[in-house]
């Protein structure tokens, strides 16, 4: 058992443990913090697989963006020290059972499937290659999805502002 294997198991344990706690804990703020550590564990797994670019994107977008957004919205909408109501026993039981059966079925499929390695190892991925491919308009380039995503982000931003806009006071009639 070498160092890389030990690091993998540490990251896996951190990710799964924090994921479990994030789903099961009764305090919403703790759930957000456990989610944060689960996402950091996933970023660590990307590092472990030598996908540094994706790991950096994961940390910047998820840890630096989405979790902070979630924590702010918890502050805005939750009373401090509130605990969430525990789910009804029947609902927890049946969803646990359904999830366990689906999990066992999926793992069985994965276990039985001999995945065939289809490609040959090329040169290592560099950020330069990723950027050139992302903006290339030739065949296999990703210029069009890139532009579509930028439009989507713009639309989401405008939509957020419109949705979260405070309504005008009642004196003005809504058209």
């Amino acid at each position: 058992m070498d160092g890389s294997t030990i690091i993998f198991y540490l990251l896996a344990g951190m990710t799964l443990g924090c994921g479990f706690l994030s789903v099961l804990t009764r305090q919403i703020f703790r759930a957000a913090i456990y989610l944060l550590f689960a996402l950091i564990g996933i970023a660590g797994l990307y590092f472990w697989m030598n996908y540094e670019f994706i790991a950096a994107v994961q940390i910047v977008v998820y840890v630096g963006g989405i979790v902070v957004l979630i924590i702010f919205s918890i502050f805005l909408t939750q009373q401090a020290g509130d605990t969430l109501a525990s789910p009804k026993l029947g609902r927890a039981l049946f969803s646990g059972l359904a999830v366990f059966c689906a999990f066992a079925f999926t793992m069985l499929q994965i276990w039985q499937d001999g995945f065939v390695k289809a490609g040959t190892a090329g040169e290592p991925l560099t950020v330069r290659k990723i950027g050139e491919k992302m903006l290339s308009t030739e065949e296999g380039g990703y210029a069009l999805p890139f532009e579509v995503i930028s439009m989507l982000l713009l639309a989401a931003m405008v939509g957020c502002i419109v949705i979260a806009l405070r309504q005008k006071p009642e004196t003005e009639e809504i058209k």
């Binding site: 294997t5 993998f8 198991y9 896996a12 799964l16 994921g19 479990f20 994030s22 789903v23 919403i28 957000a32 989610l35 689960a38 996933i42 797994l45 990307y46 697989m49 996908y51 994706i54 994107v57 977008v61 998820y62 963006g65 989405i66 957004l69 979630i70 919205s73 805005l76 909408t77 969430l84 109501a85 789910p87 609902r91 969803s95 999830v99 366990f100 999990f103 999926t106 994965i110 276990w111 995945f115 390695k117 289809a118 490609g119 090329g122 040169e123 991925l125 290659k129 990723i130 992302m134 990703y142 995503i149 989507l152 982000l153 989401a156 939509g159 957020c160 502002i161 949705i163 979260a164």
Partner: protein, 103 residues
């Protein structure tokens, strides 16, 4: 045992079904959103693992992951705007309290 594709798939499957369990049992919109993030992350992990172990030297999985992360960010922002607006009008973010659009 040297970790490989199967181990990564085990992690991502577990995370996915944890997210599904949270989505089923939680009644608070923010925690449901958090479960959704877990699900999306497990999908990303799958794409990267398949790209690394089955198609090394290609970049399709990587680009799918980048685009999924971008869409997830947009989705989380819109969802939180809706949640805050709902809290303003209903003083609660339980799914049971937002029943007006049900019928």
């Amino acid at each position: 045992m040297q970790p490989g594709l199967f181990h990564i798939l085990f992690i991502s499957t577990t995370l996915f079904f944890l997210g599904v369990y949270g989505f089923f049992t939680r009644r608070n919109l923010i925690t449901m959103l958090m479960s959704l993030e877990l699900i999306l992350n497990s999908v990303n992990l799958n794409f990267i693992a398949f790209n690394k172990y089955l198609w090394p030297g290609q970049m399709e999985g990587l680009f799918f992951t980048v685009f999924i992360i971008a869409i997830a960010a947009a989705e989380a922002a819109v969802a939180i705007a809706i949640i805050i607006n709902l809290y303003r009008s209903h003083r609660s973010i339980d799914v049971e309290s937002a029943e007006e659009m049900k019928y």
